[in-house]
Symmetry: C2
Amino acid sequence: MSSALTPDQLEDRLRGIGAERYHDKHPFHHMLHEGALTKPQVQAWALNRYYYQSRIPMKDSALMARVDDPELRREWRRRVSDHDGREEDDGGIERWLRLTGALGLDRAYVMSTEGILPATKFAVEAYVHFVAERSLLEAIASSLTELFAPKIIAERVAGMLSNYSFIDAETLAYFNKRMDQAPRDSNFALAYVKEHAVRPDQQQAVIDALYFKCNVLWSQLDALHYAYVEPGLIPPGAFQPAAS
Amino acid sequence: MSSALTPDQLEDRLRGIGAERYHDKHPFHHMLHEGALTKPQVQAWALNRYYYQSRIPMKDSALMARVDDPELRREWRRRVSDHDGREEDDGGIERWLRLTGALGLDRAYVMSTEGILPATKFAVEAYVHFVAERSLLEAIASSLTELFAPKIIAERVAGMLSNYSFIDAETLAYFNKRMDQAPRDSNFALAYVKEHAVRPDQQQAVIDALYFKCNVLWSQLDALHYAYVEPGLIPPGAFQPAAS
């Protein structure tokens, strides 16, 4: 990239990465929504995804720890509240545990994260480290996958409700909240990068951050697909559906 | 673990973890040695493994950066020299590039690490972060997979030489060196943890570090197997054999 993009060109480029690389293109995602998975496979997905959920507020706290502007910290703090809860709202992590509970997984087992795939752990940790170590601009840009979340959530809720007898609307309460939260958060982050990524090198860093984050999400589905679908080789120590 | 193990009991426990969890038990490893892989699949393995090789001296430097004892730093520095080379010896990384070159991969492409699987990157980065962030005892313990290396290397060299027409002894020079280096290094690390892990909590930390490291190695083979063997779904952006 030799000359700078306009803010709107940058937005187009970022949306193009999502169209190509977001994990709604992954075969495991399609199977999940189409009802092609067994209950133990859905359990494995929810169990592993819990680890991601549980680390998001740590990731957001790491970002806040680097911000010297109270207004930006306040904006970002809402994300932590959304996940960790407020007096009147139990928060996203609790709602995720409602999902894993409805799927028949023991709450303490889920929270221990003992049964998750090592690849889940490594991918999520890479995300937390990225946000703690890269520039603030890259850290904020790595949250931009939320631009593409409403579409995948709408597909997920509709597909899972109609295809799995063990899923009901209450079970999926997590996703209903995210339908409002994700656009609000991603609109802020998008406006931030459009304003602050002006030089070509800054714009490339933003683009690379979004590629990185798409890889974080994609590789989690790769690992689930490998372990629990095809060829179905569960790494030693990870969740064994039969024994749960 | 309520009471402390004797040093020899600790060694037995660590060797037991290797017998159960080291990546010589992985199906991809068996296929590699038995000649069951195509040349592009062997290329994918060597390309991804290059990233691991290239980060080992960074991992070892991170460890040295935390050591205040010159004798221990000197011992550990030999590992960095083994990989990075000396005047009279070009080093392990260079020997690995000889392997990827013999397999027909472009040297600059390999060194760019552009084509590696995101899961390779995340697993290897998790290892580097582990060594930089955990206790020195855990950092040293995480190197103990080398206790099990001579067996896998002997199998690998014999199997690959007899099963692949595109592999010769010169191509595998990396492994011949490791047959001497790995036992020397792992004997030192084993003696260190046997001397310094005396309390039950220290011994548990050493055990967990070895489990962690086995997961780092295992998950790299999971990702290769998934992308290039079964189901053979290459993540977007990663090495495509046909286009190489």
